[in-house]
Each structure stands twice: as structure tokens, then as C-alpha cells.
């Protein structure tokens, strides 16, 4: 028997898509029955009360959660987000209902053993509700009491060899695409570098020393499945410098209709027979391809590696062998000063363990600058905007490169530096006046 009536939420229990309401109800029921005699460490009816408070929000059109407040685990400045209900008398089961972020494994592969251990822990010491996964990538534990935070952290560390993720003005938990684990387009091992940097920068991840949040994301190719270029302060996007590898026999098989174009991605509609000219050659953004006499040619220096031809003919075309990544800095969502896409600062860098070049010539100089100059709650991209791209070049020592801009500036208001101008800025007015009357 449900603790609260939820007539509005109940209407979200029909239709084909999985219902989060049905799922919360299932957990509420499981906690009420408690067939496994779990010794619940937070209120047994917390899922019922969560449904109750959510129903009230559906009725009022307003949230019923209050601010975080300062809660956390000892020695960490992130990983826990405090959450209190603004109707604690009505819903005592969720009066204190804090979120914990658990650092996910790169690539988000799991064994059932690990997930079951996580479930046992969170059923006992929390609400039994999770997000798989949060927007940044962490496993999210949704709802526990203050006193359980240290207990959950202890069990994660001691029993599951597992740490919390980032929140606040920290490095946020880095995340990556499936990468080389199961994708033929990965230009570097996204999981290896994601894991390495996550561990290398544990201090930055757990102890807030930054002006604001900072995100790393790793996309194995320019398709950007984890949206690094739009969402991370430093985006690592796989690319290559040599020729796209062509299997001419497979190209012919696509042209002849023996292989399904786009790996079958358009199979839900009859688009007519595959037309290599219309669908590949003419859509190439640089016009660097031609198909003549049954032979496909790509003029590599003109190719910008947009992936379209490779996506359309995955069995005929493969990424090159001279692989690495491009690095983009400054992406962020609109708060505060409008959305920003990442800007290219490193056209190409090799991605090889132990990643010293990436750490020492890119990440750390940029952090030093941002920590020195960034204002409170200023993202890297906003600092770049405020102080200019030139400043970023200055702190990293990278050479300016036309690849870094969409187009050169349209105004000539160049801030020449004194040492760039012969003789400097120090001049003698009297010497000048000898030739120019007042």
C-alpha cells in the first residue's frame, strides 16, 4: 500500500518508454517488504516519501528541495552534494537526502559482481536509487543522511576499492567514449588516458583549489560522442595526420550495393540505391575526393577528417595510422556569459603513456594561469575571453598557427608589446621637437 497518493505521477506509468515512477515504486515496495532483511540505515520509506514530495512538485509546479549546505566527507571538498527537503514534516524519509558522486570506471564497462556490490551498499546505507549515470559521468547515489556519508565512503574505499568523484570548484570526474575498446574509429585509447589523468589529479579532483569547475573529456574521433568539444574545459578529440586507408574492393562493393552504406544506419527508410557521388564525394566539405574509373582517391593534405566518408563506408575506409589528438580549450554551457565551444589550442599531439607532454605542456601551464588569474566562478573559457587567446599562447608557449582561428581578426587594433617594436616605446620628445614645431 503506497504511503502517499500520487495521481499525477501515476499518469507517467503508461506508454512505451520505461517509467521512472514505476521504478521508484518498485524500490519503495521492495524496501517495505524487505524480504532479504536488510538493516536499512536510512528511513525505510524514503522512496515513498520521494514520490510524495515529487507529487507535491507536480501539483505546485515548483521544487521542494532546499539548498545543499555544507556536507561532505572529511578531507574532501567535493563528491557530496547536500540536499534537504523543504517539507520535512510531511516527508521525514527524505528530510536529509544527500547525493554522492562515485567515480565511474572509464568507458563505463561493468561486471555484474561490481554492480551488485554497489547495489548492496546503497540499498543498506542509502535510498537504493541511483543515476546511471550523472551528466558528467559519475555513478550517482541519490539520497542518504549526513551520518551515512562517512560510512558509505569508508565502505567504498575499504570494500570496493572505489573513490568518490568531483563536485564544486574541483576537477570534475573525467569521462570518455567507448574508444578503442569497441570502436574502430578511436585514434587513441580514451580509457587509458582518462583513467591515468583521473588518478594523476586526485588532489585536484577532491580538494577545491580552482576558481570554478574544470572538466576533461576524451573523444576518440571527431564524431565527439561524449560532446567534449561542447562541454569540457579541455577537450581531447582524436585525429590523425596521414592518409585515410582505402580498400578499393570494398568501395566497389558499396557502389555495387553489396554492402549496406552507413553501416546500416539509414535502413528504416528507402533512400534508393547508394550513390557514391551524391552521398560521399559531393558532401565532402573540402571537395578532396574523387571517384573515377572505379577508383576512389582522397587528396589527404586537403582533407579535414570530418569522418563523413568513413561513417558512410566503414568497411572501405579506415582512419590513418599516424594518430593522436587535437586539444580544444574553453568549452562550457551558457552560464554565465553565454555558451562557448572549445577553441583549438593544440592541432596535434601524440597520446602516449605516461602522457607527460600533455600534462606538462598543456594541462599544468593552463591550470597555473587560470588559478592565478581566474576570478571566483570564472571558467577557463571565460578567462580566455577576458584576457585573450594571445595570453593562452603566452602561458603555454605554443606557437600561433592559422589552424587556431576561424579567420584572422577584422580589426587592426593590435596590442603591440613594447619588445615587439624596434627601439621600444621610450622616446625623447625634445629630439622629436627639433623636427616638428609645437
Amino acid at each position: 500500500m503506497a504511503k502517499h497518493e500520487t495521481p499525477l505521477l501515476d499518469q507517467l506509468e503508461t506508454g512505451p518508454w520505461p517509467s521512472f515512477v514505476s521504478d521508484i515504486k518498485r524500490e519503495a515496495e521492495s524496501r517495505e517488504k524487505n524480504e532479504k532483511n536488510v538493516e536499512y540505515q536510512i528511513p525505510q520509506d524514503c522512496c515513498d516519501d520521494l514520490l510524495g514530495v515529487l507529487e507535491l512538485s507536480y501539483k505546485h509546479g515548483r521544487t521542494h528541495w532546499k539548498h545543499g549546505g555544507i556536507v561532505g566527507v572529511f578531507g574532501y571538498g567535493g563528491g557530496v552534494i547536500g540536499r534537504y527537503c523543504d517539507q520535512p514534516e510531511m516527508f521525514p524519509g527524505v528530510a536529509h537526502f544527500h547525493t554522492m558522486r562515485v567515480s565511474q570506471p572509464a568507458g563505463k564497462f561493468y561486471t555484474t559482481k561490481y554492480l551488485e556490490d554497489i547495489c548492496d551498499l546503497w540499498e543498506r546505507r542509502g535510498s537504493g536509487l541511483t543515476n546511471m549515470h550523472g551528466s558528467t559521468g559519475d555513478i550517482i547515489f541519490l539520497g542518504t543522511t549526513t551520518v551515512q556519508l562517512e560510512e558509505v565512503f569508508w565502505e567504498l574505499g575499504h570494500n570496493l576499492n572505489q573513490d568518490l568523484g568531483g563536485s564544486g570548484s574541483n576537477l570534475r570526474t573525467p569521462s570518455d567514449c567507448v574508444g578503442a575498446a569497441r570502436c574502430e574509429w578511436a585514434c587513441f585509447d580514451t580509457q587509458a588516458i582518462c583513467h591515468d589523468l583521473t588518478n594523476e589529479y586526485q588532489d585536484e579532483l577532491h580538494r577545491p583549489a580552482f576558481p570554478y569547475k574544470f572538466k576533461f573529456k576524451f573523444d576518440g574521433c571527431p564524431n565527439c560522442c561524449v560532446a567534449s568539444i561542447a562541454r569540457s574545459d579541455l577537450a581531447f578529440v582524436g585525429t590523425w595526420r596521414d592518409d585515410i586507408k582505402i580498400d578499393q574492393e570494398a568501395v566497389k562493393a558499396y557502389v555495387g550495393g553489396e554492402l549496406p552504406p552507413n553501416g546500416g544506419a539509414h535502413a528504416g527508410r528507402d533512400w534508393g540505391p547508394f550513390d557514391i557521388k551524391k552521398e560521399v564525394i559531393d558532401l565532402c566539405p573540402t571537395g578532396c575526393m574523387k571517384y573515377e574509373d572505379g577508383k576512389l582517391e582522397i587528396n589527404t593534405p586537403e582533407c579535414t577528417r570530418c569522418m563523413h566518408c568513413i561513417c558512410v563506408m566503414p568497411r572501405a575506409l579506415r582512419i590513418g595510422d599516424d594518430r593522436g589528438c587535437s586539444i580544444f580549450a574553453g568549452a562550457k554551457a551558457p552560464i554565465l556569459d553565454g555558451a562557448q565551444m572549445g577553441s583549438l589550442i593544440v592541432p596535434f599531439i601524440k597520446v602516449e603513456e605516461p602522457y607527460d607532454e600533455i600534462k606538462e605542456t598543456v594541462i599544468e601551464p593552463i591550470w597555473d594561469w587560470w588559478m592565478e588569474e581566474g576570478k571566483n566562478r570564472e571558467r577557463l573559457g571565460e578567462l580566455m575571453k577576458r584576457q585573450g587567446f594571445q595570453k593562452l599562447l603566452e602561458v603555454t608557449g605554443f606557437k600561433p598557427d592559422p589552424r587556431m582561428v576561424q579567420e584572422p581578426r577584422t580589426n587592426p587594433y593590435i596590442f603591440w608589446k613594447e619588445d615587439e617594436v624596434e627601439g621600444g616605446f621610450d622616446r625623447d620628445i625634445n629630439e622629436f621637437r627639433k623636427y616638428h614645431q609645437r
Binding site: R26, T111, G157, D163, M341
Partner: protein, 382 residues
């Protein structure tokens, strides 16, 4: 409910403390076929919506069945996922960045039984537990934020708007009839934890009323200078207020015409709540992408300035989204993403084809970049 200690001693928090160990290492979770063929994949193919095969140089194959999942998942549901993975996938699975669940098997014979098992599982009200799809030229899972489930600043609910939308768009989750992939994302306030700003279609919760000020409490609850500094438009000033009982207190005043309703002040100061049942609602954005395929990544543009919150199923919002999807499906060329289509036909045509009203709210007036979004050519369509 007796307290059970994990071993942690609050009197000696540093005793035997384990910190900074990071996440578990990815490769301990790889299925054997992944561990063996990592970095040596040749190609992949989508056999049917949601079912992919990846073929390795070794000749090995891995078949992936992709299922939609709610981002909010109970441990009962996760245990059911584990039961399925134990039964069919030797105890391995993965999640995608868009909250899909991927079950992988190493031979084709194992696909059909797994598929039947997944599709046979339904929730009490008849919803699929594990709908298969989200691949190719279709609509994949909608990524979203916490909403009214667990956040203090939302202007709408996240899980509910997503459930309502995916019920309406379900056919395109289980099919691949669109000109290209179409990604829908949801963020419940403009802080955009969900970073929806580069999605083909973005659902965004938005406040439209400036904060109320709890004058009696603000100086006790908040650091007033932090609230003032948090405002991106400098709309908040310190002020002195006389309460009805004649007592003068330190507070703030808000220059209302300058407020963009971002809620940053509320994040810094709980005495400045914004939420309002009629003020809050939905903004729809369209035409963004993150892929570099053919054209550069693009931001989504605001195409509907406001739709009221209509609980529990937001019918005006879902009708509008459906109309945009149908206009795109009908009119775009093969491979064209929604934003590429809008740019080719022109935004004036986009509004016409999607039957959307163009109002002044859709013309950018926020700071310098706004100027460059106005039409600066004689080329336009009648």
C-alpha cells in the same frame, strides 16, 4: 533501524583512512571479447535498430544490444540488469554516455534469446523495461538532469518531461527513418548540468520571474556580497529595508529589467528564490550538434521562447517537438542534421515548415555576439 558501523571511527577520522584511490580500472570490467580485440576492430554494422555488430581483425565479433534506460535507476532495476547480463553475457555490460544500457554477446546465436528476454520484461503499467533501439538515423535516449526529483533550482521536472517526450518519440527510438541521427537533451534550468546547448533539440527549464527577497532573513542566511557578485548582469545592489515592524535590516534590491532569471543569486543565497508555478516553464532550442561530421559543431538556437509547465505530461511541449521532428523527417536531405537542414532552407523557412511563431524573444539581445546573429545580407527568402 540500529546503526551499523562500517568501521569508520568519528573520533579518529584519519585512522585507516583510504583516500585518493580513484575509480576502478576500466580493464578489469572488459568482457573477454573486448579485452582480446581492443584497438583491433575493423568495422561495425547496425543489423537492426539497437543491435550492432563489431568485427575485429581476428575475425571475432561482438554483438551489442542497446536498450534505453531511465537515468534514474533503482537497485532493484540494476539487479535485474545484472541478472540478464549473468544469464546472457557472462556477467558483463556497459552504459553509454546517453544512459543507454549495452548488453554484449560474442556470437550471433546469442542475440535472439537476449532480445526476446529484454523485450518480454515490462513494468507494472506496461512500459518496456528495456526498449531496444537508439542507433543510427533515429532518436537516441534523452540525456537529462535532476529536476524536481533532487535539485533546488529547476524550472521544470526532468524525468517527467523526458518520459513524456520519449513516449511520443518512441517510434523513432526503435526505428531509423530519419535523415540523420537526432539527439534530444533536457536540462531543467539554464545552469545546464546537462549541457544541452549543442543538441538537435533541447528541452530547457526556464524561470521568468526575478527572485523574491526574504528581507527579514537574508542577512542571517546569506553572505550578501556573494549574492551580489553572483549576478552576471549586475542587477543586484545592497540596500537597507525597513520591515513592517519598523526594524531596519540589510538586504538587497534587484534591478528587475536587468534580470535574466539565471538563478545564480539563489545558488549563492537561499533567501532569493525564483521558482514560480506560472513563471516557470520550458524553452525549446534546436539545431545544435557536437559532431564534426560534414559541418562544424553548432549551438542550438532558441525556437520556442516559452511553453508552460503542464504536468504530468507536458502536451504542448511534446506536440511542438513532434512537429519539429516530422517537418525535419519530411524535408531534410539524407545525412543532414536538423541544424544543417535549417541553415540550408533558412531559418525563416524553418519556422514556416515547423509551424512555429517567431516572436521578439527569439532575437538575441544578450551582449556583443547578439549583433552578429542579425541578418546582414540582402539574401533572404519571402
Amino acid at each position: 533501524m540500529a546503526f551499523i558501523s562500517s568501521g569508520y571511527n568519528p573520533d579518529k577520522p584519519m585512522a585507516n583512512r583510504i583516500t585518493d584511490i580513484g575509480p576502478r580500472k576500466f580493464d578489469e570490467f572488459y568482457p573477454p571479447v573486448i579485452a582480446k580485440n581492443k584497438g583491433k576492430w575493423l568495422y561495425h554494422e547496425i543489423l537492426e535498430p539497437g543491435i550492432l555488430v563489431h568485427v575485429a581483425e581476428s575475425g571475432d565479433e561482438v554483438y551489442t544490444i542497446r536498450c534505453g534506460g531511465c537515468r534514474l535507476m533503482s537497485v532493484s532495476h540494476i539487479r535485474e540488469i545484472c541478472e540478464i547480463a549473468d544469464k546472457h553475457c557472462d556477467g558483463h555490460l556497459r552504459f553509454t554516455t546517453r544512459n543507454n544500457i549495452e548488453f554484449m554477446v560474442d556470437s550471433k546465436e546469442k542475440v535472439e534469446p537476449l532480445k526476446q528476454d529484454l523485450l518480454s520484461r515490462k513494468q507494472a503499467g506496461g512500459c518496456f523495461k528495456f526498449p531496444i533501439g537508439g542507433s543510427g538515423a533515429g532518436i537516441t535516449n534523452i540525456v537529462h538532469t535532476q529536476g524536481w526529483i533532487h535539485c533546488h533550482t529547476p524550472a521544470t521536472d526532468a524525468s517527467g518531461t523526458v518520459k513524456a517526450t520519449l513516449d511520443v518519440l518512441f517510434d523513432d527510438f526503435v526505428n531509423m527513418r530519419l535523415p540523420a541521427k537526432l539527439k534530444v537533451s533536457m536540462a531543467c534550468c539554464l545552469n545546464m548540468c546537462g549541457a544541452v546547448h549543442c543538441s538537435d533539440i533541447a528541452i530547457l527549464g526556464y524561470h521568468r520571474k526575478p527572485p523574491m527577497i526574504d528581507h527579514e532573513y537574508i542577512d542571517k542566511m546569506c553572505e550578501i556580497p556573494l549574492a551580489i557578485a553572483a549576478c552576471p548582469t549586475a542587477a543586484i545592489k545592497p540596500s537597507k529595508i525597513t520591515l513592517p515592524d519598523g526594524k531596519e535590516v540589510k538586504s538587497v534590491s534587484v534591478n528587475e529589467p536587468r534580470c535574466m532569471f539565471c538563478g545564480n543569486c539563489y545558488t549563492m543565497c537561499p533567501s532569493m528564490p525564483l521558482a514560480d508555478d506560472v513563471g516557470d516553464g520550458i524553452v525549446l532550442m534546436a539545431g545544435g550538434k557536437v559532431s564534426n561530421r560534414i559541418s562544424a559543431p553548432k549551438f542550438s538556437k532558441v525556437v520556442v521562447a516559452f511553453i508552460p509547465n503542464e504536468m504530468p505530461r507536458w502536451p504542448t511541449m511534446t506536440d511542438t517537438i513532434q512537429r519539429i521532428v516530422e517537418a525535419y523527417a519530411k524535408d531534410a536531405n539524407k545525412y543532414e542534421r536538423l541544424g544543417e537542414w535549417a541553415e540550408r532552407i533558412g531559418w525563416e523557412r524553418f519556422f514556416e515548415k515547423c509551424e512555429l511563431e517567431f516572436t521578439h524573444h527569439l532575437i538575441d539581445d544578450f551582449r556583443d555576439p547578439a549583433y552578429f546573429t542579425w541578418r546582414q545580407t540582402s539574401q533572404f527568402k519571402f
